[in-house]
């Protein structure tokens, strides 16, 4: 038999050649996944539109940096979970093992399945405002562009998004993973072009270009001044770019979670890990992914402040937020950057290239849902059919139905109810609750699974003799606890009104009902679901 020795001077262990002994994955791959998940273009720009006007004196840039620092602790906590229990299934596996079957089921299906029904129209909305609207406008059809912002437009684009994500689930990740890689490379090239444009053009150049293109494409004259005036008319005063005040800036942190809370989105994809060095590898992928995103945001903000004018960007968002933006489409800063070059072909290409940030990201919408549905079906909580894959087409038909049909329904509500559309942060809140319970699990891990923890590389990572993983879990609990309290008590996040709370509560009720009904039905069939995670005694 062939063997391999691992160790520096003297071998610390010997491995014999056996199935499954794979080398650690490339950090670059998980880094790409983390950058796409904390997508500053699709999710980031979307949230900046609403966050700034919601907390007018808060500083976007500072809040992004504070958020990234705090989410870094979440990265450490999740690295601890991944390296201690390196199983595909992520939060579901960790929570069921550490906190129990019922808890694991309820928070996995709400955070990784039910709430993604709401993410579908949010993705659709982003596709509408970052792709279809600017494209149609640049191609000379402002009315066509504006249609994508209407109720019907949002619904149609949501359906396109659902079909796109469903097809990508059906064809599998193999081809798409390659596409993702090219999308991020293309997207970064597009961003580099924008950086150059913002660097070489002055503020005066931008004002002239903005006025010229807004007039040409939308027939709006003196659009720059009109935008600023519209914000003022709406009662908004843009803060200058700075660092404080801290209070209002901290209130922006729960908004920032909408895009920055997801460096661990690929956590459920990791498989067997074999060595202590893998703690660093897992950590680096997520951590550098998070901080690359943060760096891109900082670069973008600073350059935009220089060329657009920081107040203008804030005013454009505030005017759109208040429905007074003189241009009839979403204030897409990359479209405005493209206007610095008075060439329609260039502008179209730039929009297409920047849309790669969307197309490299959309495929992950339902990927985790399929896994959770399959896991729940294998655990007999859902009917066996939920995990069936069509022999002919190799499509997980029933799980697709369980994902797509509710997503279509919610897309309709989202598109035709402007009130419901304001519940966007519900989509973050429900997943944050799932993360919260994983953070609780990581804190309890050393006490509940002592042997597992002791043998884990995560237990050896210490600062001043204190293991940093559980400590990071505590900080993550504080971060998510702060966000949850802020979301629930402050009206400016639009999630604490009764119908929003009923909507989210219904998801938890549905999950609990599903679990209880499954327990009862299976018991009648003579199957005790309580046995699934009951540990066999060792002695």
């Amino acid at each position: 038999m062939a063997t391999e020795a691992l160790g520096d001077e003297r071998p610390a262990l010997f491995l014999r050649k056996a199935t499954g002994l794979v080398r650690g994955w490339n950090v670059r791959d998980s880094l790409i996944y983390a950058v796409l998940s904390t997508n500053f273009v699709t999710l980031g720009l979307f949230t900046f539109t609403y966050a700034g006007p919601s907390f007018p004196t808060g500083q976007l840039l500072t809040s992004v940096v504070i958020s990234a620092i705090l989410v870094s602790f979440l990265v450490v906590a999740y690295t601890g979970l991944i390296t201690t229990i390196p199983r595909a299934g992520g939060d579901y596996v960790w929570q069921t093992r550490i906190l129990g079957s019922g808890v694991g089921f309820v928070f996995a299906v709400t955070g990784w399945w039910f709430i993604l029904w709401l993410w579908a129209p949010i993705y659709g909305n982003i596709l509408a405002i970052q792709f279809f609207e600017p494209l149609w406008a640049t191609l000379g059809s402002p009315s066509g562009a504006a249609w994508f912002g209407t109720d019907n437009g949002i619904f149609v684009v949501s359906l396109i998004t659902i079909v796109l994500a469903g097809v990508l689930v059906s064809i599998g990740m193999a081809g798409y993973a390659r596409i993702q890689k090219w999308c991020i490379y293309g997207g970064l090239i597009g961003f580099a072009v924008i950086v150059v444009l913002l660097l070489i053009n002055s503020h005066a150049d931008f004002i002239a270009s903005f006025n010229q293109e807004a007039s040409k494409l939308f027939g709006v004259n003196h659009a720059y001044a009109a935008t600023n005036a519209a914000a003022v008319k709406a009662g908004y005063t843009a803060p200058s770019l700075g660092f404080g005040p801290l209070g209002a800036t901290l209130l922006l942190v729960p908004n920032m979670m909408f895009f920055i809370l997801w460096p661990n989105w690929g956590a459920s994809l990791y498989g067997e890990i074999r060595g202590a060095s893998d703690f660093k590898r897992v950590f680096r992928g997520m951590f550098f992914g998070l901080w690359i995103t943060t760096a891109l945001v900082v670069i973008f903000f600073l350059l935009m402040a220089k060329t657009f004018g920081w107040a203008f960007y804030q005013n454009a968002n505030a005017a759109f937020f208040n429905g007074t933006f003189p241009i009839p489409v979403w204030p897409y800063p990359f479209m405005f950057a493209g206007w610095l070059v008075h060439n329609a072909a260039f502008q179209v290409i730039l929009i297409l290239v920047m849309s790669l940030w969307f197309f490299g990201w959309v495929g992950t919408l339902f990927l985790s849902s399929t896994r959770v549905i399959f896991a729940a079906a294998f655990d007999r909580v859902l009917p066996d059919r939920a995990a069936e894959v069509s022999e002919k087409r190799k499509v997980p038909l029933y799980s697709l139905i369980l994902m797509l049909l509710p997503a279509v329904g919610l897309s309709a509500i989202y598109a035709y109810s402007t009130t419901f559309r304001t519940y966007t942060l519900d989509a973050t809140l429900v997943i944050a609750v799932t993360y919260l319970f994983s953070a609780i699990a990581v804190v309890l891990l050393p006490f509940i699974k002592k042997d597992l923890w002791r043998a884990s590389p995560a237990s050896k990572v210490k600062l001043l003799g204190v293991p940093i993983v559980p400590v990071s879990g505590v900080i993550t609990i504080l971060l998510l606890g702060f966000c949850l309290i802020a979301w629930l008590v402050n009206d400016n996040y639009f999630v604490n009104n009764p119908s929003s709370l009923i909507f989210m509560g219904a998801m938890y009720v549905l999950a609990i009902v599903l679990y209880v009904v499954a327990r009862v039905v299976r018991r009648r069939q003579g199957i005790d679901l309580g046995l699934i995670n009951k540990e066999i005694p060792v002695e």
Binding site: L13, L15, A18, G20, N26, L269, E272
Partner: protein
């Protein structure tokens, strides 16, 4: 009749102990371990003057007492590795001498299996509860005789075994893997081996196939796609089917009542293939959790009346 099936415990002593206790815990009438019994890792513990030294999870640990040594050995065994106590000189020699590590590995594997089989006595009511063990592609050949010689367990490979009126046949070989392990064969050869055991079965309606390799493309055989350097592609996000077409064809052709598999740890699942219920309970032996399948077999109807995947 209730059967507990687990697989791929890869030397994890905690999983073995749980396996032995599974019959009483789940009130099973028979227990089956589907292959890949032996571990993949050997951890040297160097013996010095009055203390021992070992690297555990990347950290060098000094063990000053026999209790600490025993505790470290327990930890190593529970993770599916073999502790090997040796002098620093022996360790140096082991690293240098051609084939020495292989020989030491075999010694530790056999010694460990011997110990395990001794434990089986009290747990299986002195052989009253049928317990079947089989080899998997990762198991060295020497374990076959050791298992075969045990009075408390039955070695399944290539045999027809009556299990309360059901017909169990076992085959631990798999289709080729990138690791070139012990019991691998091309699909054609695998098909011939399967036919040899399938032909022993008098009634497929009551047959149980215990084949280590899962059927190709069944969803029970999805493993991370690897590049030429055995590195997971695309951050481990891309899975591909790696099971056996020979196993798949045999299930479709013979339609046994039940088909149990292992080999692909991350592909825990259930698949209905015609009238056959195919199951891979997966394995997370490294966590000390024994994944398994609880199967209720109806002797009158000749079918699997209930099943549940458990993480014991």
């Amino acid at each position: 009749m209730r059967v507990f099936f687990a697989t791929d415990i890869h030397g994890s002593e905690i999983c073995w102990r749980k396996f032995l206790n599974a019959a009483s815990f789940y009130k099973a009438d028979a227990v089956i371990l589907g292959g890949d019994v032996t571990g993949k890792v050997m951890v040297p513990i160097t013996e010095h003057n009055g203390y021992w030294q070992v690297v555990l999870a990347g950290e060098t640990v000094r063990l000053d007492t026999r209790e600490e040594l025993a505790d470290a050995e327990r930890q190593i065994r529970n993770r599916g590795s073999y502790p090997a106590v040796m002098s620093p000189d022996e360790l140096t020699e082991l690293s240098k001498e051609e084939g020495a590590v292989d020989r030491r590995f075999s010694v530790e594997m056999i010694a460990s299996l011997d110990r395990w089989l001794d434990m089986a006595d009290g747990k299986l009511k002195g052989g009253e509860i049928p317990c079947l063990l089989n080899g998997g592609n990762d198991d060295i050949w020497e374990i076959d005789d050791v298992i075969d010689a045990s009075p408390y367990v039955t070695f399944g490979e290539g045999k027809l075994i009556d299990l309360g009126g059901f017909h169990l046949v076992s085959m631990g070989w798999t289709n080729p893997t990138p690791w070139d392990t012990f019991r691998e064969a091309p699909e054609e050869e695998l098909a011939a081996k399967i036919e040899a055991v399938a032909n022993l079965v008098p009634d497929m309606g009551r047959a149980i196939f215990n084949f280590h390799a899962p059927p190709y493309g069944s969803g029970l055989d999805d493993a991370p796609a690897l590049d030429a350097n055995l590195r997971p592609m695309h951050g481990g996000a891309v899975m591909k089917p790696v099971g056996s077409t020979a196993v798949s064809d045999a299930i479709v052709r013979h339609q046994p009542m039940l088909s149990v598999h292992g080999h692909i740890h991350e592909s825990r699942g259930i698949k209905k293939m015609g009238r056959t219920l195919a199951i891979n309970p997966g394995s997370v032996y490294g966590d000390g959790v024994l994944q398994g399948a609880l199967l209720e077999l109806d002797p009158k109807k000749g079918k699997v009346s209930k099943y549940l995947l458990v993480n014991g």
